[in-house]
């Protein structure tokens, strides 16, 4: 079901890096010349005239998240499937999947495959994007009600003008174009 990486060969890692270079690269060069020329990382805000000190200690954040207990979910993605959990003791269903059931306090879940079709509940188009999504065009994010008894938040691959509440949506698990990693999204079911 999954295809190979995108035609450009670029993955999300370099796509995000390139955007960051564009957004934060020029200010860094300006900071360099400011220190060289004046001996201080200080300038006057052109709008307000206020004196500003540019932080010379950059802080980079890239978190490493444990998905150790979600191994079945990760395996599912590799196999083109989206998995949820169901508590073996009380029957509670979880998406996002979780291995601990706060309803009955058991930690014994069955991993099951999510149904392939659901109904659109609501959606938006992200026009102003976070820095780490700025390499993307405007994208549609929606919430889809699944017959399994939970909703799923994901991108909707459709012209937003054609969307209506209650519309049938089909689940897709594949490499995301332009980012190259396997994730899930919906597209209209017809």
């Amino acid at each position: 079901m999954t295809s190979n990486a995108t035609s450009s060969g670029k993955t999300v890692a370099s796509a995000v890096r390139d955007v960051f270079e564009r957004i934060y690269g020029d200010p860094l060069k300006q900071l360099e010349s400011l220190i060289t020329a004046t001996g201080l990382p200080v300038y006057k805000d052109p709008k307000t005239g206020a004196l500003l000190w540019v932080d010379v200690r950059e802080l980079r954040l890239r978190f490493t998240l444990s998905v150790n207990k979600l191994e079945k979910f990760i395996e599912g993605l590799r196999g083109g499937k989206l998995m949820y959990t169901q508590c073996r003791r009380c029957g509670a269903k979880y998406f996002p999947p979780q291995v601990d059931c706060p309803r009955c306090k058991a930690s014994d879940v069955e991993w099951r495959e999510v149904s392939t079709e659901g109904e659109l509940v609501t959606w938006t188009v992200i026009n102003v994007k976070p820095a780490s999504f700025s390499h993307q065009g405007d994208y549609v994010v929606g919430i889809v009600k699944m017959p399994d008894g939970f909703n799923i938040t994901a991108w909707i691959d459709a012209d937003p003008k054609t969307l209506k509440p209650g519309m049938k949506m089909r689940l897709v698990v594949d490499r995301r174009p332009g980012e190259g990693y396997i994730t899930y999204w919906f597209k209209p079911a017809f």
């Binding site: 957004i23 934060y24 200010p27 805000d45 709008k47 307000t48 206020a50 500003l52 932080d55 998240l65 998406f95 996002p96 509940v121 609501t122 959606w123 938006t124 188009v125 992200i126 026009n127 102003v128 994007k129 976070p130 820095a131 780490s132 999504f133 700025s134 993307q136 994208y139 994010v141 929606g142 919430i143 939970f150 909703n151 799923i152 938040t153 994901a154 991108w155 937003p160 509440p165 994730t183």
Partner: protein, 393 residues
């Protein structure tokens, strides 16, 4: 048995792009005004609570930095977080310190410097205010995006229009134009709002609160202390609070915020407010209008309007002075600005001024009942606080 608690001093800084001050200098503007208002000094408070979301600003320990700068050391101070309701969480914590009998005078300080980071970084941080992995990492939701999911569902179900949403922005800009501390002091038209660009369809730039630096402070006191400090104490009659799920996908519907409904019910019960007709008790309200749709849902979640009819209140101008319940007479988050950690504290400061009849000309509500309500939501209904203030204890 808990003790009664009063607001005895309030201060609010100028809101806006405050490149002219550091975080503690900004906090001091509000702290000093609150001390002067109560005719007290740092030596008189027994503790302080700092509301600050941070991430976009350089200080990792804002309570410590603010405590030193404002001369509060060695009094105990902590930082609290409840997303955009952080300020209300600070007020609530200070309230409990006094109600429990642990302290007699405590200060709640809200301060935020969002402009220490470039806008894309701020958008990135606020977009992560939900469930990081299942909403942001893979789907890049933004703060306006979360509320837009509600706006789409609400408009589709009840027939509210983008024009109705813009009417909220027009009202709040109008009152912001009368508030010298507001970030935006310019009235706008429905057309200007309708012509502004989409940021998260169906929400536009003019449907949104701005990125803001600002601070607010309130001094709370026990009944005994309050009577000595001031002739015009404003009493905290009740605080209701609740949370919502991190993942929006787990919510039962997208037309109202359950956390706000639960918080309102709790506050109304504590304060003896008729939940069927709460507006008859209040002279004025501050509601959380981070986006215009949020103000409309607030009308309904608070019981000011029936479910699905909130947009009619603004369509009919009922939330202006002279209507059934004047809302956001300081310009709201929309025009006054939304310095995350300061917003909830500034709501309590504003309502205290309203009840004392000290608001500027043209934006003072008529005070008949002597009661006011603040509704402060964190994230997208992730946290909610409803605080009721009154002139009698």
């Amino acid at each position: 048995m808990t003790r009664k608690v009063a607001v005895v001093g309030v201060g609010v800084s100028k809101f806006g792009n405050r490149t002219d001050v550091s975080l503690p200098e900004l906090a001091w503007e509000a702290v000093k005004e609150a001390f002067d208002d109560a005719r007290l000094g740092p030596e008189d408070v027994q503790g302080f609570v700092v509301g600050n979301m941070g991430g976009w600003s350089s200080e990792a320990l804002p309570a410590v930095v603010v405590g030193e700068y404002c001369g509060l050391v060695p009094k105990s101070g902590i930082r609290v977080e409840a997303a955009c309701a952080t300020g209300s969480a600070a007020v609530r914590t200070a309230y409990h310190m006094i109600a429990s009998g642990e302290a007699d005078i405590v200060m709640a300080i809200g301060v935020e410097k969002m402009n220490e980071s470039p806008t894309p970084t701020v958008v990135e941080f606020i977009g992560r205010a939900g469930n990081y992995f299942w909403e942001f990492e893979n789907f890049g939701l933004t703060f306006p995006g979360y509320y837009a999911l509600y706006a789409t569902a609400y408009m589709q179900r009840y027939g509210a229009t983008e024009e109705d949403l813009c009417k909220v922005a027009v009202k709040n800009h109008y009152y912001g134009s009368l508030n010298p501390k507001a970030q935006f002091q310019r009235a706008i038209t429905v057309e200007e709002c309708l012509n502004s660009r989409y940021i998260a369809w169906p929400l536009k730039l003019y449907d949104s609160s701005p990125i803001t630096d600002g601070a607010a402070a309130v001094i709370l006191a026990s009944e005994e202390a309050a009577r000595k400090i001031t002739d015009t104490p404003v009493w905290i009659k009740a605080i209701g609070y609740a949370n919502g799920t991190a993942n929006l996908s787990k919510r039962p519907d997208f037309v109202g915020l359950e956390a706000a409904q639960v918080a309102a019910k709790m506050a109304y019960k504590k304060a003896g407010i008729d939940p069927e007709n709460p507006v008859k008790h209040f002279d004025v309200a501050e509601v959380h209008d981070c986006f215009t749709i949020a103000e409309i849902m607030a009308y309904e979640d608070l019981g000011f309007a029936k479910r699905g009819e909130g947009y009619k209140l603004i369509r009919e101008g009922q939330t202006y002075i002279g209507g059934v319940i004047p809302v956001n007479l300081d310009g709201g988050l929309k025009a006054k600005g939304h310095p995350i950690g300061a917003t909830g504290v500034s709501m309590v400061a504003e309502l205290t001024k309203q009840l004392r009849q000290q608001a500027e000309r043209g934006r003072q509500a008529t005070i008949k009942n002597g009661m006011a309500l603040a509704h402060n939501v964190g994230g997208t209904g992730h946290y909610a606080f409803v605080t009721i203030l009154g002139l009698s204890p």
